[in-house]
Amino acid sequence: MNADPIGVLTGSHYLDGDHSCSEGAIAAGCRFSAGYPITPSTEVVERLASRFPRVGGRFQQFEDELAASIAVLGAVWGGAKAVTVTSGPGFSLMMEHIGLAAITECPVVYINVQRGGPSTGLPTQPAQGDMMQARFGSHGDYRLIALCPNSPQECFDLTLRAFNLAEEYRVPVVVMLDEVVGHMTEKVVIPPADQIEVTPRRYTSKKPGDFKLFEAAEGSLVPEMVKAGDGYRVHVTGLTHDERGYPAMNVVAQDKMVKRQFAKIVENADKIITFEEKNLLGAEAVVVSFGITSRIAEKGMQLAREKGAKVGSFRLITAWPFPEKQIIELSKKVKAFVVPELNMGQMSLEVERLAAGRCRTIPVLHAGGTVHNPEVIAEAILEAVR
């Protein structure tokens, strides 16, 4: 289905990453947002608050991130596409409801503009320290999708895609920006509405009585939905539940529910995962990077090439699920991975795990607050090919 033209700001604009996320959300059909102000993410909801009324949407500022992150779930079960937006301290509070979204298979989008941590940390400066929290932050076993844009253009593209993926797989999707990507202003091209593909919510055509809210059709892992007011009696609970949604607290129900929810992501990983490869042919070292760090790494690679290094690039666009197959294949061909990130070692652990000793993994770590010096990345590349 194409985007509703009412919300699409077709044209070429200079936008910052935060505002570009807002436009991506509106283009995707998002018409509800709840939030609580926090730097450096507030611009996203400020723009939504200003833009929404004209397109029939609604932003509400709540008392805290606990409220905002569950209010969006309420809106989704009422039929809206919804987003909440935050940064580190708020992201910690939202973990509870990411878990609820996962267990109730609620299609919803969370945007986290990462800043330095832990705790209040560096409110106005960048980091990439929440990558593992995005994956594992809520208790219990679940899988979600996380995307990491590296430009305002990608903020638009990936926020739009986040909504589409959420509907496709009935999962929470997290868009992981960092302060620099959120606040940098660049050209953003927004296509005409009839060239924007939007995934509508898949509502059931089954009759009340025949329909089960957590039963996927033959050959599918993703159940259809209904919304309040459509005449269905449904029960949605954060407890382990059966296909009807009724609490079923036993080993069999738990096994079935958790495993299907995992399978939705694991079995569709090839369709979900996107990445960008450059100069891999003949490369002896590969820089694995994401978000703002991938932009800095470009410069690092250029410097290293000037000194003769054969280096290629693998940029993560989906962080979760992780491109396991691709990293395993590359590990058979290269001497080393170089993994720069604005944290003390998160995605590099994943790379190292998958490389499994077939090649070296050289993390280039940074506690955050600014971006890497490209020369440090260049040095690591030169060491990798030595």
């Binding site: 604009h13 609604r58 309420g74 009696r233």
Partner: protein, 350 residues
């Protein structure tokens, strides 16, 4: 998206019976739990309120009380501990035409959910909250709650609680709720009347229901419900009627204009006559008298008020919002829209 501005065409409603609102799942509450009588009253009420069953949503948090939606034959949401008001707010803001009931407990609403509670009340969203107050944590088997009395011995206060409790209606009034009431599980007829008024109110609606937990806090309300003491202990507030109580309604509540306090008078004693007694008016814009009445609860020498403390009409949060949205939408198609879209930190690249 199917958001409308709150008015669905009044299609002919089917004739419902109480059974239509029963899910058929056997409640897992303990025998004798006050929750049974509450669900019974709610299921009795719903056929008569003129709302299509599919437009009624029950949303709960976590606790014995929060199992409620499971037993109702509606769209039901069993959310997380303390968070039901926020979930409900999101749903209400996006779908104003739905009738939302939040079912919660004293711990759920006032401890972990206290912040959400006050903010939901102040916003005057059209959400009806029923708080089952058993003055204990039931589901986790008997710990102190924010409504447990001072000195209360529970599993986590084995020497007696040193915390002063909340007075829930006073809290709701302070937070700006536009409808505040109290009833008692054992007073079925009274509860029915209160619930009907709650159903009719548009705006933030708070009903505290005193609920006995026979397992972990048995007899919490015998001071109010025992036949022998009932007449003296209950102050039944009825709109337009003097606040009389006691055997043969011999006592009343008077506003003492010297001390600016409420006091108990006995008719015929010390010159007190019925016309001195405060006439109940829950529709005063100023909540001060309602607050004074709420504060009579558990005060030595005073009866405990039950009934409606406050019921005032104010535009709801969703009324105000849809007004903004509709007027903004009406301007869509204006040439100025393009300009508006491109204003504020957007530059078009020519």
């Amino acid at each position: 998206m199917s958001t409308t501005n709150g008015t669905t065409a009044a299609a002919a409603l089917p004739t419902y019976t109480k059974k239509d609102f029963e899910s058929g799942v056997d409640p897992r509450w303990c025998p004798g739990c006050g929750d049974f009588s509450i669900i019974n009253q709610v299921q009795k009420l719903l056929p008569s309120i003129g709302v299509a069953r599919e437009n009624i949503v029950f949303i709960s948090g976590i606790g014995c009380s929060s199992r409620f939606p499971y037993y109702m034959n509606n769209y039901g949401m069993h959310t997380l501990h303390g968070r039901a008001p926020s979930f409900a707010s999101g749903l209400k803001l996006s779908r104003p035409e739905l009738q939302l009931w939040v079912v919660t407990g004293d711990g759920d609403a006032l401890a972990i959910g206290g912040n959400h509670f006050i903010h939901t009340m102040r916003r005057n969203l059209d959400i009806k909250m029923l708080m089952f107050n058993n003055r204990i944590y039931g589901l986790t088997k008997g710990q102190v709650s924010p409504t447990s009395e001072l000195g209360k011995k529970t599993k986590t206060t084995p020497y007696g609680s040193a915390d002063y409790p909340f007075n829930p209606p006073a809290l709701a009034l302070g937070a700006g709720a536009t409808f505040v009431a109290r009833s008692v599980d054992l007073e079925g007829a009274h509860m029915g009347v209160v619930l009907k008024s709650a159903a009719e109110h548009r705006g933030s609606t708070f009903v505290e229901i005193y609920q006995n937990c026979p397992v972990f806090n048995d007899g919490a309300y015998t001071f109010l419900t025992e036949k022998a003491v009932k007449a003296e202990a209950q102050l039944r507030m009825e709109e337009g009627k003097p606040l009389l109580f006691g055997k043969d309604n011999r006592k009343g509540i008077r506003f003492n204009s010297q001390s600016a306090e409420l006091e108990v008078v006995t008719l015929g004693e010390k010159g007190a006559v019925e016309k001195d007694v405060l006439v109940h008016n829950p529709r005063r814009d100023d909540p001060t008298i309602a607050f004074m009445l709420a504060n009579l609860s558990n005060r030595p020498g005073f009866p405990t008020p039950i009934g409606i403390f406050r019921a005032v009409k104010l535009p709801t949060c969703d009324d105000l919002n849809w007004k903004v949205i509709n007027s903004a939408k009406a301007k869509h198609g204006d040439v100025s829209l393009r300009k508006f879209l491109s204003s504020a930190d957007t530059w078009t690249v020519e």
